[in-house]
């Protein structure tokens, strides 16, 4: 998020008056963060504290309830690791477009 705002981690730490290592530890969840610090980080990054929390807690939870489903998901993801050819995806998109687009 800092990068999107043209800031480096070091610049954010400087604005917060922290050492870079402390900020990294907070980012990695290795160091607890007070509500006051959360609000200050949000202010520096021009976002809401809620957005910061969503990015950490919201994305850590598994997608589905049930280990078997999440294992099946991981297997599907792993099967796509080596740049598979997917021309058929575009062929399908174009076919759907021809079929469903509103008549002009």
């Amino acid at each position: 998020m800092a990068r999107e705002r043209g800031l480096t981690g070091a610049a954010v730490a400087r604005r917060l008056g922290l050492y870079r290592s402390n900020l990294s530890a907070m980012d990695a969840g290795a160091r607890s963060v007070s509500l006051r610090m959360l609000a200050r980080v949000a202010e520096v990054l021009a976002c809401s504290p809620g957005e910061l929390l969503e990015m950490t807690w919201g994305t850590e939870a598994p997608v589905f309830r049930g280990a078997a489903l999440n294992r099946a998901l991981a297997a599907r993801e792993a099967a796509a690791a080596d740049a598979p050819e997917r021309s058929w995806v575009h062929a399908a998109l174009l076919a759907w477009h021809r079929h469903y687009r509103p008549s002009r």
């Binding site: 990015m55 919201g58 099946a72 740049a83 399908a92 998109l93 174009l94 002009r104």
Partner: protein
């Protein structure tokens, strides 16, 4: 046939790759690249590209799309070049439309993930030799979960049902043990 060729999606992606526009395919179209075949893909007319939301990157994306003959706009109408910094600042969505009415959405924000987080472990698929950067499947699904719109919830239920069909049945315990 226009300069967009038979597959405008591939033409745009190849052009973005060549010109250094930073993007990741997201949304249902991104999820479809992980399907094992057309029978496990989800019909959609959306094609969403999450482009790095910097003025420089978005300006380059818009320039390339216009050069390819697409019309670029926002929800408010045609895009005024002078308004681009405000569009980026407010993370508004841009649309790029081909003369045939095929639309590509340029998203400047997605639920749950900043651009760098999706780009850093994006998976590269290929389409007739063109590399296509697609967000990790788990992240694309989590983003839908976080967006939590009715259509996202409905899609996740359908995806879960489809995934469930592909889980091998657990071996039954022998009655003799």
């Amino acid at each position: 046939m226009t300069r967009l060729g038979a597959d405008p999606y591939r033409t745009v992606l190849a052009d973005f790759n060549r010109s250094g526009v930073r993007y990741v395919v997201v949304g249902m179209s991104g999820i479809n690249y992980y399907a094992t075949g057309p029978d496990t893909a989800f019909a959609t007319l959306d094609y969403d590209l999450f482009v790095e939301p910097t003025v420089r990157n978005v300006t380059q994306a818009v320039r390339r799309l216009k050069a390819l003959g697409l019309t670029v706009g926002t929800a408010e109408g045609a895009l005024d070049a002078a308004a681009l910094p405000a569009v980026v600042r407010d993370r508004r969505t841009l649309t790029a439309t081909t003369p045939d009415g095929l639309m590509i959405e340029l998203l400047l924000a997605v639920s749950g993930y900043p651009f760098a987080e999706l780009a850093r472990d994006a998976v590269t698929f290929t389409v007739q030799g063109t590399p296509v950067a697609v967000g990790q499947l788990t992240k694309l699904l989590k983003s839908k979960k976080l967006a939590n719109r009715p259509k996202d919830r409905q899609f996740l239920r359908r995806y879960e049902a489809q995934l469930r069909e592909h889980i091998p049945p657990r071996p039954r315990k022998s009655a003799w043990r």
